[in-house]
């Protein structure tokens, strides 16, 4: 099972700080599509968010991840 950490407006819209995908392995693109299917009202913020894998931004959505990875979906940041 893959878990995805969520933050800020994304966390509020998904109503959980940690969304659980049914997959054992998946590309980030598949996870994104699954999220949009489960939360169609959050499509805009999901698509404007970037994935991080093990605390590093993913370069693209082709990357395959598994249940051992720490996955986070990072909505547009507003620090500083």
């Amino acid at each position: 099972m893959i878990q995805i950490l969520t933050f800020a407006q994304l966390k509020e819209q998904l109503q959980t700080p940690c969304w659980q995908s049914p997959f054992k392995h998946s590309t980030l693109a598949q996870l994104q599509q699954q999220l949009i299917r489960d939360f169609p009202e959050a499509k805009a913020v999901i698509e404007s968010s970037r994935f991080a894998v093990n605390q590093n931004y993913a370069e693209n959505l082709n990357m395959t991840v598994g249940s051992q990875d720490e996955i986070a979906l990072i909505p547009p940041v507003s620090g500083g």
Binding site: F7, Q9, E12, N56, S78, G79, G80
Partner: protein
């Protein structure tokens, strides 16, 4: 990971980051403090709440610190970001850059705050009298 980047839930201190970068061969210390304003986009702000993805935020701050140290002739950089509830006039971020010469320090300071605002996973929510909203650093 050094202690030169950090995230605090308590009030920040500019003196703290300045002390961290001071040394006898430092000729210039440039600092930046990002402060909670009483208004934004035409609305009166009551307070802000900052949230972060702490381990990755520290990692990204360390990455941009290393990039600046490689790009310019610097003695040191220290920065602390605050999270939790912040009232008007309180600092959300303090950065100090120490250099032998001012040009490098000022350029690195601008790079550091610009990059931090673009890459570090920290979010702020603005609270008004009649509502609240998560912000995005779209245009500085």
């Amino acid at each position: 990971m050094t202690t030169r980047v950090d995230i605090w839930e308590r009030p920040l201190s500019l003196d703290y980051v300045m002390d961290q970068v001071s040394a006898p061969h430092v000729g210039a210390i440039s600092t930046f403090s990002g402060i909670v304003r009483n208004h934004n986009l035409g609305k009166a702000v009551r307070y802000l709440e900052y949230e972060c993805y702490a381990p990755m935020a520290k990692k990204e701050m360390e990455i941009l610190r290393e990039q600046a140290l490689q790009q310019w002739q610097l003695h040191d950089i220290a920065m602390v970001h605050r999270v939790g509830r912040l009232d008007i006039g309180e600092s959300a971020i303090v950065i100090a850059v120490a250099s032998a010469h001012r040009e490098d320090g000022l350029a690195a300071l601008k790079y550091t705050i610009d990059t931090l605002k673009a890459t570090v996973p920290i979010w702020k929510k603005e609270y008004w009298e009649d509502g609240s909203m998560w912000l995005e650093n779209c245009c500085g």
